[in-house]
């Protein structure tokens, strides 16, 4: 049962107890890698391949 009375601080506390720093780092790193590839990467090959996606998703690309 998910208790409805807990707070955001409780949730953060639970997460800290549950998840090892390395796991958290891995999740964060993975997210950062996806963001970088889809949104930031300017390397011509990747940039041109994602061209339609970036326009369609309204991402600031060029």
């Amino acid at each position: 049962m998910t208790s409805q009375s807990d707070t955001v601080a409780d949730r953060i506390e639970t997460t800290r107890a549950e998840i090892a720093p390395t796991t958290a780092l891995a999740i964060f790193g993975f997210g950062a890698a996806i963001t970088f590839t889809l949104v930031v990467l300017q390397e011509p090959l990747a940039h041109e391949s994602l061209h339609n996606f970036r326009h369609a998703a309204g991402i600031v690309c060029h």
Partner: protein
């Protein structure tokens, strides 16, 4: 617990991603291609050399994959965000999911677009790419602040009157929508596109991104209800 939410979020993102990938293939790819060819022979803001690097079919295919990955990524963020902020979000389960989806849309897309509107092919950018990214990063922070202040206003007013609270929650969003475009200069120009075509194009971008968030929130709710039914059937006392 976080992993259950993350998994559900990624799954919901996958569902939204398949829908968005189909949309990319059926609507966005042909439309971007059309806009590109319609303006050919005029000013090349992308440069003619850049266009020959990759075949058009490759761009179409990778863009579909990019759309899928994008929705999965947003789904993962949604799952983690929902786990952490669920107690503070307004409403019950569905209301919480929808308000988080709305906040996510505001943060990642809507508020940044008020200053850096979605650009169609052939757009003239007045800023360099680096400046745009820095600006985008700042606007994401601003978007998160707008969404958070809306939620905070709702929570503070909900004890008094429900509709007053709704108005209080929408207030910061409306203020941002009116103020931001008014105080910032135009930094993207589309000299060769008609206003109607540009409006239609930007409406497509806004609606498709909003649909991704809505689809993630709905699918997440469906997955959560299904898991709850299963866990009550097989495991009457889940570990806390």
């Amino acid at each position: 617990m976080l992993f259950a939410y993350l998994k559900r979020g990624l799954l919901a993102g996958g569902v939204a991603g398949i829908a968005y990938g189909l949309f990319m293939a059926a609507v966005a790819n042909p439309l971007v291609g059309y806009l590109e060819h319609a303006q050919h022979g005029h000013a090349h803001s992308h440069g003619p050399a850049a266009e020959s690097v990759v075949a058009e079919s490759t761009t179409a295919l990778v863009s579909i994959g990019g759309g899928l990955l994008w929705a999965v990524f947003l789904g993962g963020c949604f799952g983690i965000g929902l786990y952490l902020f669920e107690p503070a979000l307004p409403g019950r389960s569905t209301g919480r999911r929808l308000s988080l989806a709305g906040s996510g849309f505001l943060t990642v897309s809507a508020v940044p677009w008020l200053v850096l509107p979605p650009s169609a092919p052939g757009a003239e950018q007045l800023l360099t790419v680096t400046t745009q990214f820095l600006l985008y990063g700042g606007l994401v922070v601003l978007g998160a602040a707008v969404a958070a202040s809306g939620v905070a206003a709702y929570n503070r007013l909900v004890g008094r009157h429900r509709w007053l609270a709704v108005a209080g929650g929408i207030g910061p969003i409306l203020a941002a929508a009116v103020l931001l475009p008014a105080v910032t200069p135009t930094i993207v120009r589309h000299p060769e596109l008609s206003t109607e075509l540009l409006t239609a194009y930007q409406a497509m971008v806004v609606l498709s991104q909003g649909s991704i968030w809505l689809c993630i929130a709905t699918t997440f709710g469906w997955l959560q209800r299904r898991t709850r039914h299963e866990s009550t059937a097989t495991d009457p006392q889940p570990a806390t």
